[in-house]
Each structure stands twice: as C-alpha cells, then as structure tokens.
Symmetry: C2
Subunit: 131 residues, 2 copies
Amino acid sequence: MSLDPTIASRLTRNSDGLVPAIAQEAGTGAVLMLAWMDDEALARTLATGRATYWSRSRREYWVKGETSGHTQHVRSVSLDCDGDTILLRVDQVGPACHTGTATCFDSGLVFEDLGVPAAGDAPAGSAGAPA
Amino acid sequence: MSLDPTIASRLTRNSDGLVPAIAQEAGTGAVLMLAWMDDEALARTLATGRATYWSRSRREYWVKGETSGHTQHVRSVSLDCDGDTILLRVDQVGPACHTGTATCFDSGLVFEDLGVPAAGDAPAGSAGAPA
C-alpha cells in the first residue's frame, strides 16, 4: 500500500524512517499512547480507519487491538507544523494500554503542581475564612 | 542539575539519549506539540515548573517561550508504561506553535471520518429540522 504522495511529501521521518504518532481519545481528549509509523503504517491507517503502527521491537506492522480486541477507530489524522509528529484522534475500544489501564500514562505520574488555590480557598497555614 | 534517580531509572531513552515529550493543555485537553527531553531537560522542567526541552536542531536546552513569551507552566508530568514517552499537562500562555496557531496540529488535518451522525442530527441531504 502506498501513501498519498502529497501526504508523504509533508512527513519528516527519523533516521529509521519513522514518525511518532500520538493517539488521543476523540471523546475525552485523553492522551492514550505514543507509537511509531512509517509511510506504510500511515497508508494502512488511512485506508482502513484502524490505527496501524510499526512495532520497533517486533519489526512488523501492528494493527492496534488485533490480538487484544482493543482497537482504535480513527476519527482524524493531523500532521504537526513540521511534519515530524502525527496526531490520531481515535475511538478507543477498551483500555489503550497493554497493562490494562485506560491510557499508558495512568500509572506514571512523577510531578503534580496543585497550583494556586482558587479564589475563596484558604491559603496554606491560614485559619481559613469564616464559615 | 541532576534528575531524581528514581525517575531516571524509569526512563527509556533513544540512541541520542532523548525521550519524546507530549505537551497537552491542562484545561482543554488539546494536544499542543511534541518535543524532546534528555534527563537534564526533564530535571530542569521538574525543578522550575517551566517546560524545558532539548532542541535537536539548535543542540541546546530550550525553555519553551523564553523568547516568544509563550511559556508552558507545568501542571503534571507522567511517564508512560515503558518509560519511553513523557506527557506534560501544561497551562499554555499564548499559541503553542511557532507559526502562531494554538497547537502545532491546527493546520495539518489529512484525514477526517465524520462518522455516524449523532441522534437527532439531520442526515446529509435532508431538509433539516424546522427552524
């Protein structure tokens, strides 16, 4: 399967011929995972509407969910401004992560800034506003 | 600046010592851009709360918005399940893209599946609902 030349001409591939592809849940905006595509994987994705990646470890094309059933139905595909990243908005069936979590980032929090208290919140250490 | 060893031990870097970092707008969920971090860039990001990347083209650290003013205040940082992708949730000041668009994907749509109309939507070609 060959990729539309007008799309292929906009891609900036790494030295392995790959482009990172971010999968985002179309409904919620949750970032699900990042995987990799070459031209053929992108062509297959566009032709089938099923997210298809290149597995760097197995060195083969990989239709997401082909074995697990946790498929990604592609709603849109966008390239970034310099063509070196692909964003897929998908309807994810089941968990996106092979660990069983909804996204691949669910267990990986390493930093959280709880931010400035909203107006009306008591500042840390204060006695708080009258009830 | 050195990265917390417990975080460093969870990172899977590419052959250049880099990990892709996805920046997502905390408020809206919009995927803004993808850039790259090494351990030092991640350490600086965690220490300062300002997204700091490694510029592969300029070969230098790059505090997002340092020149443009379009900074990213980091609300959370998560690693994915195998430590080879970083997700930053940020408060983006101004447009994220150097082209002036809100995200780097705004001008890059190459595929869209408009899908099944939602319940109550008029089918294509219909006269539509009464005004």
